[in-house]
Subunit: 453 residues, 2 copies
């Protein structure tokens, strides 16, 4: 006998949580599809040759690695042990678990390059695994929901991502959110005009903290990172540029006028703003944020991040434009833009804001009671007719006391019970009970079906 | 640069296959829900203490095992290497990948025993992993779709499983199939009356092959397995019992009259037949098969197997009743009955029979052309209105030649294209083209939405 336990950082999802999670997944999927994205799935298990070296040294360590099958130990020697875990891993493990959806997508595109219709719009909703230290809100197994368009530089794609995010969140009932947007080229431009061209990574790591630690501490951090007083002095506009987005664009143009790259970034964002406006979006939630960076090394154009306002939960979505998805697999120059939604955080936001409504589509709508063999026999064709009418229905499987059966309905959140006793069998009028109101009435089957539909 | 490849025995699913697979999954899910089953999900990664010893020695070997994180090699010695892969595995791996959905379900039930509403009806649709040798139709990563009711002995559950299987297959368009049913107690009864009580496993392994190798070879195999001539002589009725199911029940009762267990098995099946009949099923596809065994050691009552007729593909579903799901985790006596559907085989059956219909719900229904910036700007609000009307729609993201854009629509299987040129912009009448018929007409947006709905 073994004591059952969950592996650290993993979770079971019981029915009540599953119904809510599926509601989120279905809403995301439906919107992705409405925008012309098509589903793909890639395997959980990938060759380590595909995964290693794609996520940095830390990522390599956080990959879950699978032990080779068969007698993997027979050629191992003391020397292999002495060389340490890294080299030893190489000898006994060739496969690992999917770490994100981007690298497998890149592999998929390269392996299917001749069959794909470009521009290729794909969505992918699957779990990923990371051997991170588990903590509150951070799991070792969690879902990602990604949508990407590859094979085009068109800024319509950026505008469509804004629309899509907005539609998903509004369909979920999340009204108060902000879609922050920046452009990598603006960050490059800033680095250029303050005289640290190419150093936008350490620069943005510091200014990204402005909200949290304030201007003085950001400047201290820049000094620690070796930025000169002159550069820091030149950076002052970043702390002062404020106003409506179009005013900020104008101020940025003046500040970055010496940087061709920076101006290109502003131009791109202005075009995105204009396209979003062309769509006739009632209440656009986009906001320019020139400190937004998100894994800079990867993005080359637009950078997105979505925050739900009024809750203390990190960003619920992020993404951006890249210009070299597949270079590492020998297919250079494929650009695209994508977005990833974090289902666990969206779940937490909705839970905290009380946005989950009773969703009865996947639970049972009506329970038939079961008192004895005669009633059971009488009920089975009724059960079939309810289901044929598209109603989720079940019969209590055993004869038993009515209290136990009502209790079953209550605990399973079944809203209606049809009581089938001897009187009901004689008259054909069934007792139809509304569990929430506690009221009941006598109805025939057609009337019951009408009520439940 | 690494050459991209798939791990052996794994698959990518591109959009066209995904749409078909999702159609199967959705049909199965919808039916499970209609019968009152609720979804759960368990993690991919389980502790090996949960998985090991549950699937026999062969199963233990076929489990994918995950290398421990961190410096797993530092305490290893030459002695560990000398002891071989099995012991070494124990030292460097504590987790493995889900091998089926039954053991994780049992763990889930035990860990949530106080919160579950009994009888508990759950369905679970997730992939499983087995380090089997890959071959045609056998993969290392594949989905299972399981539905189980636990916490009741009621034979209504068996009858419901028959109904549910029948509804799923008919909804998928598979008309010609057989649901074979047996009962473990009948197999025990046969073993008893031929004088080999308790030996039903080797007995049924042999008679299970009757269809394939014929009576004489089955008898040879029984001799090889040490069955006496007397037992084989007494087994003769099994080769002769034929006729309609009720006739077979009568003949079985006469043959097995000395076995209480055997008679109980017949009684249970007769009750299932009677319940299925009570449901008023038009065209029941159940068939008694007293040679059906399917992993005997586990089942204690009904045994199910579903075959699609007219195609050379193995069983597409199987299951049965068990009386001790959770004993191995310290919770004895929990009985239940369940069914598992194999999506890969169902896919192959439908593919071979040409049952997949054009399913447009997840692909784009209409493409807007894109000739220049003016047309693009004019089209974006149209695009939004189409989507607001619930229509999957996209715009070609770049200005380009019309041939290229039509080609995109054709290759992506988009049935309709709206051409927005300068004339259309002037008149407000858009050119609406049916790609399959090659016909086009001038319509305003409201008319187009009406057509597409």
């Amino acid at each position: 006998m073994s004591k059952p336990s969950l592996a650290r950082g993993t979770r079971d999802f019981g029915p009540s949580v599953m119904v809510k999670r599926n509601y989120i997944f279905d809403t995301i999927k439906r919107t992705f599809q409405k925008f012309g994205f098509q589903p793909i799935e890639t395997p959980t298990i990938e060759n380590l040759s595909v995964l290693m070296g794609k996520y940095g040294d830390e990522g390599d360590q956080l990959l879950f690695k699978i032990l080779n099958s068969g007698d993997f130990s027979k050629d191992l020697t003391q020397k292999d042990l002495d060389e340490g875990a890294k080299k030893l891993t190489h000898k006994i493990s060739e496969k690992g678990l999917r770490y994100d959806l981007t690298v497998p997508f890149a592999r998929f595109v390269v392996m299917n390059r001749n069959d794909l219709v470009m521009p290729f719009k794909r969505y992918q909703i699957q779990p990923v695994w990371r051997a991170d230290r588990p903590q509150k809100g951070r799991y070792r197994e969690f879902y990602q929901c990604d949508a990407d368009v590859v094979g085009t530089d068109s800024l319509i794609c950026e505008a469509e991502i804004v629309l899509m995010l907005q539609e998903i969140l509004q369909n979920l009932g999340i009204q108060n959110f902000t879609i922050k947007i920046n452009n990598r080229k603006i960050l490059s431009g800033i680095a250029e005009v303050i005289g640290v061209k190419g150093s936008e990574v350490p620069l943005t790591v510091a200014i990204d903290k402005l909200d949290k630690i304030g201007k003085d501490k950001v400047e201290d951090e820049l000094r620690e990172r070796g930025f000169s007083e002159e550069s820091i002095e030149k950076l002052q506009p970043i702390f002062e540029i404020q106003g409506a987005d179009n005013q900020v664009f104008e101020k940025l143009k003046a500040w970055l006028k010496e940087s061709e790259t920076g101006l290109k970034g502003i131009e791109e964002l202005e075009k995105v703003w204009s396209l979003v406006e062309s769509f006739g979006l009632d209440n656009s939630k986009i906001q320019l944020d020139i400190t937004l960076a998100r894994g800079l090394s990867y993005y080359t154009g637009a950078i997105f991040e979505v925050k739900a306002n009024g809750v203390q939960i990190g960003s619920i979505s992020g993404g951006g434009r890249y210009d070299n998805l597949t270079g590492t697999f020998g297919m250079p120059g494929l650009s695209g833009v994508g977005i990833s939604l974090g289902v666990d955080r969206i779940f937490d936001v909705m839970d905290e804001l009380g946005l989950f409504v009773d969703n009865q589509s996947v639970t049972t709508k009506v329970l038939l009671t079961n008192f004895d063999e005669e009633a059971e026999k009488y009920s089975l064709p009724i059960l079939k007719k309810l289901r044929d009418a598209g109603i989720n229905a079940e019969i209590y499987p055993e004869s038993g006391k009515i209290k136990k059966q009502f209790d079953y309905a209550n605990r399973k959140n079944i809203p209606f019970v049809v009581v089938v006793g001897s009187e009901e069998i004689q008259t054909g009028k069934l007792t139809f009970k509304d569990m929430a109101l506690g009221e009941q009435e006598k109805l025939n089957l057609e009337q019951i079906i009408e009520k439940l539909k």
